[in-house]
């Protein structure tokens, strides 16, 4: 069980917020206390794995592919709580290859390039979103259906490796 992937799952994310509210109110202390123990315990496991793990991955999603194309794009938000680093690799079991692509729209021309890394400043953020930088997933082994959840493993320059769960969304989602 990976704390990071838990945090990034949007459905669980909202549950975590509720949990935090509960802690403030002390309205139902029993279950909240149990949750706190679990929370702390999981946190300790997280730290145990790697103390240099300082990039938090949020809002991960992948667009459904449009047949017959076996390619699609993935998006996420990277929040760096440590020193400057970069996202340098991405891997998904459902795709042959996952590349980092940077996109620029200059004078109404879209330019997409494969990149070796996407830098995230110390204490900064990097957003991969439609119309901008994205993960390009090439050679999908099957069609991705909206609503399903797939695993993405991200590698960072600082050695951090994080596996996150990405929800597949319908084209036009954001």
């Amino acid at each position: 069980m990976d704390i990071w992937s838990q945090e990034e799952d949007p459905s669980r994310g909202s549950a975590a917020n509720k949990r935090n509210n509960g802690m403030v109110k002390f309205s139902s202390f029993g279950p909240v206390f149990c949750l706190m123990i679990v929370w702390i315990q999981v946190g300790i496991w997280g730290c145990g794995e790697s103390s240099s793990r300082r990039v938090i991955v949020e809002d991960v999603w992948v667009r459904e592919n449009i047949p017959p194309q076996k390619i699609t794009a993935g998006y996420l938000v990277l929040r760096n709580e440590g020193e400057m680093t970069a996202l340098v690799s991405a891997r998904a079991d459902v795709a042959e290859v996952t590349e980092l692509h940077v996109m620029t729209a200059r004078e109404n021309v879209m330019q997409m390039r494969k990149a070796d890394g996407i830098t995230i400043a110390a204490g900064g953020m990097a957003t991969l979103q439609p119309g901008g930088n994205h993960l390009m997933m090439i050679g999908l082994k099957r069609d991705l259906v909206p609503g399903e959840v797939i695993d993405l493993t991200l590698g960072f320059q600082n050695g951090q490796t994080t596996t996150v769960r990405a929800v597949v969304k319908k084209v036009g989602g954001s």
Partner: protein
């Protein structure tokens, strides 16, 4: 006695206030009505004028390519308003996003004979069959066009578009840089407005409704 006159004064004050409110309210409504009635003024989210050009722009015009059923497609034969743009089906981000946005435009528009024309700038990989399957994913009347490289290049040039194949190392094979305009074409085949790739559904609707 004093109380009664005070009440009366109070009532009069309220009455005056209500009249004042009524007058300002009516004034506001009249202003809005007048503003809305100004002929042809269409303004985008970011304040750009979205009014169609009175005459077709000097770019664009008629052409013939092959449609996704393998049949010849001639623009002027359509006799219906068209939204035209350049793209390719291996494009993972911009093209599906734009098509999804246009599908939303159709949803908002309701009954309409507007036609979406997706001109492939990847004649090497986009066969009519591929285009047909790809476009069927979007709930709207869209035609995919392809042709020989020379024929496609001619149309791109005619529409002052741009595309360039980038044979850089990517597992996707080559990538294509391409222009992002969406051309709003009237029934006679004249380009009457250039929409931007970033234009919202609302902006596109404002333009389309004038075609």
């Amino acid at each position: 006695m004093e109380d009664a006159s005070r009440n009366q004064r109070g009532l009069r004050a309220i009455f005056r206030l209500e009249t004042w409110r009524l007058v300002t309210g009516l004034f506001c409504i009249l202003c809005m009505a007048f503003w809305g009635c100004q002929p042809g003024q269409q303004v985008s989210d970011d304040g750009r004028d979205l009014t169609l050009e009175k005459e077709p722009l000097p770019i664009g015009g008629d052409f013939t390519l092959t449609d996704h059923n393998g049949m010849p497609f001639r623009l002027v034969d359509q006799n219906r308003p068209v939204l035209l743009f350049f793209g390719y089906t291996t494009c993972p981000d911009f093209c599906p996003q734009t098509l999804a946005r246009l599908a939303q435009v159709y949803f908002e528009l309701g009954e309409s004979d507007l036609l979406t024309v997706f001109v492939s700038v990847d004649p090497g990989r986009d066969t009519p069959e591929n285009l047909k399957m790809y476009l069927s994913h979007f709930d709207m009347p869209a035609v995919g066009l392809t042709g020989g490289e020379a024929a496609v290049n001619k149309v791109v040039e005619q529409y002052a578009g741009f595309y360039e194949r980038r044979d850089e190392a990517s597992a996707a094979g080559y990538l294509i840089d391409h222009s992002l305009y969406i051309y709003a074409v009237d029934r006679t085949g004249g380009v009457r407005f250039l929409l931007r790739s970033t234009d919202s559904v609302k902006n596109i609707l404002k333009v389309v409704r004038q075609l």
